[in-house]
Symmetry: C5
Subunit: 354 residues, 5 copies
């Protein structure tokens, strides 16, 4: 299956804005969790139906509703209606091959990102789509499957750690995105370490399989770049936004995220270049090896073929072949051969082949 | 025939704005179809002459006239006069090698796109030009041949599905372009899948023919890019346009299209890079194979050439060759040869050639 | 001689604005032709001296003076004075290695372009400089040699074809530039066809000479790009110009030219990439061939060298060589050799070398 | 350990703005030094606690506090509170993998740079983070370890050399950054010299190890670029800043720094290109060597294999082999062989192989 | 010594704005020449001390003071004080590794350029720094050594040729820069000619040394680019400047220079690409040669090794070897060998190896 662009057969020809799930259903039961808080109080619950969340929406508290599982079109439509979301926005949430982006509309900000996971077993990166709808008094987050990457943020809310309970929707959104970005850095760093270590392998005596490994790393770097570059753009846009939802005090935090994303993006480019340098090194090493093989062949051939020829001459059965009858012929014959061999060895020595 | 730039011999030296058909005539009879609707009513018909469409033009309904077949200059001129189109616009419609573009004039928008088709049999992409003239109360679409890619849109109009019957010319235009773009994504995805699968072939034991295949994919990617990159620009321009014809409510839909085009464009670039990586992999594999061939040659030559030489010595006919007359010479001779062969085998084993 | 940057020895150290001819004199006699027209009348003549053209300059008709041959500094100065041109402008006209450009001054527009010609015999492109001075009531065109590429435009003027007689200087200028650009497209298309055809040659069984051919095409593409890229900029600039000389009605025509130039420019880039891909294909084909050569060598050597060695053993003259005296030795010897040969053939078969 | 992106495990999931040290602790005892001066007076001291510096902060003198060692979170927080710094700023100071940047806030400028050191022993570059907090009346500098790169600046302050004592915080900051940039230039120049010298080695008779060396230089150039490119951006930004802290008179000095950074950045690019050219040269030299090896092999084989064959013919034991019995056969045999050998030598001579 | 970035050891840690000479002292005695003129009068002299020039500075005439030799810090400081120059400007003049640039200050324009010279003997380019300080009534030019590249300008001033005597400081500055730029074009053209000629050499039968030559040209092109690209920026900036010193009438001349610089810059890029194409061509030619060598080896080996084997069989000494005793064995033996040889020749012919 194409990893870099997913099939959309299901939507072709459909009404735009149709709520159709595109992707692999990764969870059976959809779970809706709500956290509602302000400085003084905290309410945490699991919702049965989305309508149970309506009351919180209106309140002036920070309301964070997290939905795990995207395949239920009916529920999605209901959410859309409850929170007054554009049908296209719902379509984007359900299409898990969205390009990371920020979209500003009249009453909310819509941010799509990828949560990445590093599958150690076959050295690939697995991507899960995270959609955030940032309203004035509520935050909706949509994930493909239940993930506890946000658990530390929940803990901070519960324990009133940091400034989070004293701040608004925008800071909560920042805190979540920050967790996602931290994970990007972590993954790049893990790959980076491996890629930097490859250098030594390439400069040692590499197996042909190394090419496959380098090529695999390169593909994963491409995959990372595909998610991270547009995410960087989206975050930069977010930090520059002139919108009521984003508090002026949150801007420095967003700028910090932007810096991290720039660094991540540059690191990916550096590693891509490094891989391509390593491929060149490997190819150059291959040529060197070939040279060595050819030298050995040539040394053997160039020394023994003439000697065999000399032996061949005295293996002929000519009736009148005077040398055959001299007493010391055989020893002279050996002498000549040794001289020839030594001369050739000196010749190759001078050429620095041996 | 040049696929990336078509001959224009016919127009060289002609008056600009001349209505001359450039391309392959793909249809014999030109067909003009009209759909005229608003929220409450729908009229669908096939027109005999273009003047039959005049009455609809004036009405405040959505009037969509589709023309299949572009080769009749007379008809084209008539259409131009009926709908008040600039002669250059008619020239552009009839020249099927237009670069996709958006042109804004006083009373209409002119959008040229390519409809792409994937010819499975020889893995090439076939391109057909689609021109849209978006007026205030009418939409003209020009195709080189009758294509039912728009049939789902017609169905939606007929069945009042989605919002289409309640909206205006701009939304209808969007719906048609959306269908075309969906097809782009579909084609890229099909090629992408094949290209991603090539990786495994390249890393296996590839035939020389693979180079031809990779090169063909690369050419098709170039062809796709040629159509899609300018189309992306045109759609971006359309989404930013400040023009009466484009309703503010249609903008989010156009922005969505823009996102899709960006994704398509990035996917093409990724696949192009991937192909070029695969070519490098293949070339590196070739070098590896050559190394293997050379090693086998060298092992055979280095072992048997010295042995043959030794045999050659005792094949000489010197009268005084003492070793020949010892009883165990022959066996010692075998012993020496075995020692030489084993020594060389160990040497090559140490070099990891065997 | 350097084709990509011409010698300017003659002007080094000279007063800037000096009227010095740089280039190859391509014509002996300078010819000055005048066409003067408006909707109702037409006057066409050949001028003896430039001062004969003064009267037309003042009139409100469209006056087009074409000069073939640039080497006469005296005449050039006279033209400069008659039509009130900046000395630097005259210097630019006479220096035939100008970079295509548009220059706006108080009373005229100065446009330098290259007219390209494809020399079939040695597959090179020949460039001739065309300078246009577009004044309010007159158009001066300067060519290095008499060329009838503008003949169709003259015909149109004479026969009142198209809108040309009813329009002004700017439209005439457009019509001339359009002719030049049509020729660019034609040339690129010719080369493009050849380059696209090369693909098949490269994938077939290419001769080493193909590299020379590909490299030649690449050089010509560079040469084209050198003329066409700055011309594109100049035309884009022209289409955006806010200047009395350019009528608002001519803008769509200029925008059309701009589109053509963008297409031309993109086609050149595509063909350059295609050529570079073909060079890679060829190099890869070379490696494949080398592999084939090596395989054949290795097969022959690996089979016959051991066999020769076996034969060599029984060619020795040891007195006590028991096998020589058995009755069936010779046949067993053949048997062994056939077994060895077949074993090796199977080995190579398994390696897919044969 | 990944050199191009450091692990941040410690901060993952932490509250943003947490004061956590990321990096290698390079010093045991943190040292705080203060220099406080204006035109007429100078006070220099080592502080025990940061609160001892408070009095200087308020005064209208230039106060420069330098902190060596970043691992003490408590101290850092205290500094933050004393000088009214944003928690994120403290986090940035303690995270030694910051990307060089300039950050403007209400009451200070925050500049992060890398101080680079060239480790001669293994030809790598070592990076230490320098953070400057430029307030209105104070300058804070944070280093990972005590470094005397700033000693010349201190000397200038002490000895009233140059304009430094008569100027303000911004000039002092400039003077420090200037010292850092001078060091960049010095390091690039040292590497540059070595890289330019490599050319000769590559064109001589290079060992395979050269590839490793070139690749190492390339990696260090990448490392330099990683620090210097964003530093260039930060300094450019600083020179353009419209902020009270930066005096108009200091701008020319900052612009000078900008020029230096541009030059440094361009030099790095040039050296990177040069290295990549040298790698190509080396690979081409490898091919040339291979060609030489093959030629020698071919000459030996092509001459002696036919000769051995001829000898082989007359080594056969056919009963009726007439040539064997002629008296001069042996000498004719030699003649034929010499003719064959000479013919082949002439053949190879013509091919310019010998 | 590093050519692309010069050592600055002397200034490290020094007060910025210190007058320290960086570079190779190319002249022993510093020479100060003054030319002072307006429309009606001309004064030309050599100054003993810089203070002798003060009187001219105040006058409303054009005063051009040229200084050859930059190593005297005392003199430089004096000049700086006399003409009211910023200390950093003096530092820039004395540092001969400045990046070409334009700097605008309150009372003058400061332009740094490189004068290039082509050293024919070892095909390198030698660079000398030229600094122009363009004041309202005076022009200072600083050169490293006396160079008569400006002699033609002086001649024009003396002989009242062209417009130079009637114009102001800005036109004089233009005239000098024009001379420098003409020299750039000349040098690029000389190299260009050689590079274009290399094509033929590469396509012929190139020696391995060609790689060295191509690489040298590439290095010189890089060196040219290093001087010319920033110079182009500086001249573009100059042409766009809104400053009293630059007269509106001089702008067209500056724009002309800008065109020349663009052309120069594009030519350098084209030649760099051409060199890289030629390197590829050469590498491809190498592979072709290798193929040829291998084919010859394979043909010889594949034909004679089997034949030698056949001969070997009949050289065995088996007692019962029936074929040896047939009368025509020897001739049949020859027949078989000829058949084998011809069959193999046909085989290789079919493969187009011969």
């Amino acid at each position: 299956m194409a990893r870099f662009l997913k099939k959309r057969d299901k939507t072709a020809g459909l009404v735009p804005g149709s709520a159709v799930f595109i992707g692999n259903q990764k969870v059976d039961d959809i779970k809706i969790r709500i956290i509602d808080y302000d400085k003084s109080q905290l309410h945490e619950d699991e919702l049965k139906k989305i309508s149970d969340g309506t009351e919180f929406k209106e309140k002036n508290t920070v309301t964070w509703i997290n939905i795990d599982g995207l395949h239920d079109a009916g529920l999605m439509k209901e959410i859309g209606e409850t929170f007054d979301l554009h049908p296209l926005l719902i379509e984007d949430i359900m299409n898990t091959d969205q390009r990371p982006k920020l979209q500003e509309s009249d009453n909310n900000l819509f941010l799509v990102l990828k949560m990445l996971r590093h599958d150690e077993s076959n050295q690939t990166i697995i991507s899960e789509q995270l959609s955030l709808v940032i309203g004035k008094t509520f935050l909706l987050t949509f994930q493909e499957q239940p993930g506890d990457v946000f658990e530390p943020v929940r803990e901070r809310i519960r324990k009133q750690k940091g400034r989070i309970r004293a701040t608004s929707i925008d800071y909560l959104s920042y805190a979540l995105v920050d967790t996602v970005v931290d994970n990007y850095i972590y993954i790049i760093e893990r790959f980076g370490e491996k890629i930097e270590d490859m250098e030594e392998v390439v400069l040692g005596d590499p197996e042909p399989e190394i090419m496959e490994q380098l090529s695999n790393y390169r593909k994963e770097m491409n995959f990372l770049r595909k998610s991270i570059r547009p995410a960087k753009e989206a975050i930069t846009q977010l930090a520059k936004l002139d919108n009521d939802i984003i508090n002026k005090k949150t801007i420095p935090f967003l700028k910090d995220l932007e810096d991290l994303m720039t660094q991540a993006s540059e690191a990916i480019d550096t590693y891509r270049e490094m891989l391509s340098d390593q491929m060149n090194l490997y190819n150059s090493a291959l040529s060197n090896k070939m040279n060595d093989v050819m030298k050995i062949l040539t040394i053997f051939a160039a020394i023994f073929i003439p000697l065999t020829f000399i032996a061949g001459i005295y293996g002929t059965n000519f009736e009148y072949l005077p040398e055959l009858h001299f007493k010391y012929s055989y020893f002279i014959f050996w002498g000549v051969m040794i001289v020839v061999a030594v001369a050739l060895l000196i010749f190759f020595k001078r050429k620095k082949w041996i």
